[in-house]
């Protein structure tokens, strides 16, 4: 029984391919169709996840502030997000007349697309990965940095001073924090000896990398917060300063797309953190796909907890922190890891 649940999704896809082949479809085609279905599943997972996540964020913020949070629609208010999404869907899509029209219109779509693409390489359980790229981590980091362009498009296309300021901030911030983010993952890559995410998970059979690389885990969390534009690093939005930054002119579903994409990124980054540092889908008793969900949500709780505790950092401090603290620390960490590996191999070999 346990085995059945564990391999539930893998069995399903195997059965599906077998069924297609029995209908006379060639294997290559069947694989293609499966890929398409997998992609649709990812979108589904994302949407479900986000509804839960936005609800959760409100609950966490409420609980921290001694409020019950949303509690009107459905049990514990779980349908609140759905109601909000419906509301945003039915709202008028206002496009200000002075905007750079096409840039303005495509920015949210691009943002969302990039965010969804991140999920392709994430292992969501044992043998559950859409594409197991041999440069999976590299793919993830490089795609992640593309979201800057979408934000810049939104800020530029809006033709609004607040939006522009927000977009400029976001570019400066993302470029600065891209480096410590990548560097903090390097230590793990050095130990695992691979950029393939499934290899990295497999390398944590005995020991999670969070124990071997605690500093890298911390720097990853910090730079990921900055990459996600979340508090205390939410410069590009900075509600109290820039009203809504790059999103100021967006309304209705276009605004919702930005909003959703941010949460999509949050899930992706948290899932990556649990894959790389917390042993991925590995864990006792429960099926692997449940483990990754539990770990991801735990990491996300840390993100939320920090957001609702800290004030926003100042722009110049933010840059200084990246260049003067995070990057040196991550570099030292890499050197230390190299030494450690050398000594370890020297003893072992």
């Amino acid at each position: 029984m346990m085995q059945k649940i564990e391999t539930l999704f893998v069995d399903l896809s195997d059965w599906f391919i077998a069924w297609l082949q029995s209908l006379g479809v060639p294997l290559a085609w069947a694989d293609g169709i499966l890929l398409l279905i997998q992609f649709l599943c990812i979108v589904g997972i994302i949407l479900v996840n986000i509804t839960i996540l936005i609800w959760l964020e409100r609950k966490v913020s409420g609980f921290i502030q001694q409020r019950p949070g949303p509690n009107r629609l459905g049990p514990f208010g779980v349908f609140q997000t759905i109601a909000d999404a419906l509301k945003l869907l039915t709202k008028e899509d206002i496009i200000p007349s002075k905007t750079d029209r096409w840039i303005f219109l495509t920015a949210p779509i691009l943002f969302m697309t990039i965010s969804v693409m991140l999920y392709i390489v994430l292992p969501m359980g044992k043998d559950m990965q859409v594409v197991d790229l041999n440069v999976g981590l590299f793919f993830f980091i490089s795609l992640g940095s593309l979201t800057t362009i979408a934000l810049l498009m939104g800020g530029w296309g809006s033709n609004n001073k607040w939006s522009l300021l927000g977009a400029m901030r976001s570019v400066a911030q993302m470029i600065s924090y891209e480096i410590p983010l990548a560097l903090s993952l390097m230590g793990v890559v050095m130990i695992a000896g691979s950029l393939r995410l499934s290899d990295i998970v497999a390398a944590q059979d005995n020991l999670w990398f969070v124990i071997l690389q605690p500093i890298a885990f911390l720097t990853y969390l910090i730079s990921a917060t900055a990459e996600l534009n979340r508090g205390p690093f939410d410069m590009p939005e900075a509600e109290q300063e820039l009203t809504a930054g790059a999103y100021t002119e967006y309304t209705g579903m276009r605004y919702a797309l930005f909003f959703l994409a941010e949460y999509t990124n949050l899930v992706a980054v948290s899932a990556l953190a649990s894959t790389i540092f917390l042993g991925g889908w590995q864990g006792p008793w429960l099926p692997s796909w449940l483990w990754i969900i539990i770990k991801t949500y735990l990491v996300m709780f840390i993100f939320m907890w920090a957001k609702w505790t800290f004030p926003r950092i100042r722009m110049d401090h933010l840059m200084a922190f990246s260049w003067k603290v995070l990057i040196p620390v991550t570099l030292v960490n890499i050197v230390a890891t190299g030494f450690g590996l050398y000594i370890f191999k020297g003893i072992g070999g």
Binding site: V60, G62, F63, I64, Q65, Q66, R67, P68, N71, W305, A306, W308, T309, F310
Partner: protein, 243 residues
């Protein structure tokens, strides 16, 4: 060390994450209002002597009244009284200055209306207040002050009876009430209820003047309800019903 302040903050927020939530869930749970809370302003029409001090003290012209001379007594009497709540600042000046003590604030704070006109509250003179039927002198107030003849006599009698009963009730409640319930103990319980809730007292007195049997029934019902409540309170600890 750098960072301890951040961790301390996180410890505080985590502590509150698990603490009791303090939000009042308003429509289901009414907020605990203090005794002096100023909600909606209202007037006890019967007590008003139409002196007009309230309209003069009001800083915002919220209050206005319409009066007329009574033909028989040559006294001023109130025809209608208007409270335009939308301009009220709840400053309490009218309440403090009312010589007849007939303006009050109650605890009703749900005053929003869909139309601006609905905010204005107009009190008309109730017909039974005109003790002697008079056809002249009240023509300007229209339907409100032209009671049907005959009814006034009866209403007047009843009014007097109620008043007498009320004073008796105030003086010695147990004695009056023991006629309507089985024993003295029940009468005492009923007296307590009536003292706590004026509206119940008025209800019972009205019934006493009207229909003795019905009054008895209602009195017994009140006592039984109270007894039950006391019992359940004994089980569930002390609970104060908040009004």
């Amino acid at each position: 060390m750098y960072g301890t302040g951040l961790l301390k903050g996180m410890a505080i927020t985590l502590k509150y994450f698990f603490s009791k939530k303090i939000t009042v869930q308003y429509p289901e749970e009414m907020p605990q209002l203090q005794e002096r809370f100023r909600g909606r302003l209202y007037i006890e029409f019967e007590k008003c002597i139409a002196c007009g001090i309230c309209t003069k003290t009001c800083p915002n012209d919220v209050l206005s009244l319409e009066d007329a001379r009574d033909e028989n007594t040559k006294k001023k009497k109130l025809i209608s009284y208007t409270i335009d709540h939308q301009y009220c600042m709840f400053c309490n000046l009218c309440v403090e200055n009312c010589p007849g003590n007939c303006l009050h604030f109650n605890h009703d704070f749900e005053m929003s209306k869909y139309n601006r006109e609905d905010i204005k509250e107009v009190y008309h003179r109730p017909p039974e207040m005109d003790q002697v039927a008079s056809s002249a002198g009240t023509s300007d107030s229209g339907e409100a002050s032209e009671p049907a003849p005959g009814l006034t006599e009866e209403a007047l009698k009843k009014q007097k009876k109620i008043e007498a009963l009320m004073t008796a009730l105030d003086k010695n409640p147990v004695k009056v009430l023991s006629r309507y319930v089985e024993n003295e103990e029940d009468a005492q319980i009923l007296a307590g209820i009536i003292q706590a809730d004026r509206s119940k007292a008025e209800k019972i007195v009205e019934l006493m003047a009207d229909d003795q049997d019905k009054a008895r029934k209602v009195a017994v019902a009140f006592v039984n309800k109270e007894k039950k409540q006391r019992q359940s309170q004994g089980e569930g600890g002390e609970k104060h019903e908040h009004e």
